[in-house]
Symmetry: C2
Subunit: 152 residues, 2 copies
DNA sequence: GGATCAATGGACTCGCAAGTCCACAGAGCA
DNA sequence: TGCTCTGTGGACTTGCGAGTCCATTGATCC
């Protein structure tokens, strides 16, 4: 059963979780993040850049350069990451039939999409990077093959 | 903020809602469904086809041919429609870093994706076509322009 | 039986997210 | 000062879901 978070957004959550597990204030190079998240390097750099411009990450270049969180993990909600990757507001795609429906002129499916949006939003607002147990995972990664086949 | 239900799935919900509002046992031609849902005709026919093969709709050809629900609206949950459009099971895209994670060998983000999946599933299992107030809408559609611009 | 109406299904195009490539900018090091 | 390391950013290719086109099948009407 479907319901899709864009890949770029999941990649962003992966990278943010890794950075949350790192020593605070230490610059982590994207090379390390690539190794830990297994996101294609060139693509991850695009994702990281969005997180930087959104103010969630800080970056510096040159020797010992890299990325780090701009705020402590406990102050970064999943919702912040989702918004950084897609800043459009409100529930998407609710247009049953006629022109785009509004609160005052809702389409028949409108209440259902609002409900779904509310549930998703609650999920994203409740969870923070501090809730992710990434440190122990990175310390002792499970013994298994790399290169995950894409489940779809 | 994102989180996307595939367009084809929303189209399916639209069409199912229209059919739920129609007289029971009456064959509704796809032409009527196109007029009511404003889904491109050729594409809607593909969506309807999937709903037929999934057993949610019945179809017949020729004069006065068309589609109708295979079960009463109260017995069709949103989840049935979602499953008809995408029959893959379980939470999608949960592969933080290494090989595809499992229950016994979860990745750090796994519990969060399971939680999100659980919320979405609850939404889809609770709502049925009988809950959609489509009849009154189709009887008196709001007075507004056609051709909704896609919000994205 | 022939005309017509409507679903079927395969082959096609289109657009956009996903992913790649590469030249450049700036920061540290020797 | 020059080399090297690492992020920046634009241009490009790829893959796939969304949407189109059209010939075919089957049912009904006259």
């Amino acid at each position: 059963m479907e319901l899709v978070l864009p890949t770029a957004t999941e990649y962003a959550l992966r990278a943010m979780a890794c950075l949350a597990a790192a020593e605070p204030a230490v610059w982590v190079p994207s090379r390390d993040l690539v190794a830990q998240t297994h996101v294609p390097a060139a693509y991850l750099s695009k994702v990281l850049r969005r997180l930087v411009t959104a103010g969630l990450l800080e970056a510096t270049r040159g020797h010992h350069g890299g990325f780090r969180l701009a705020r402590p993990p406990s102050e970064v909600r999943f919702a912040d990451v989702l918004r950084a990757m897609d800043d459009t507001e409100g529930p998407q795609r609710c247009q049953f039939g006629f022109a785009a429906c509004s609160k005052t002129d809702p389409c028949p499916l409108h209440p259902f999409f609002v409900d779904l949006d509310r549930r998703m939003r609650a999920w994203a607002e409740e969870a923070t990077l501090a809730d992710v147990d990434c440190a122990s995972y990175l310390a002792a990664p499970p013994d298994r093959a790399l290169a995950p086949p894409r489940i779809r």
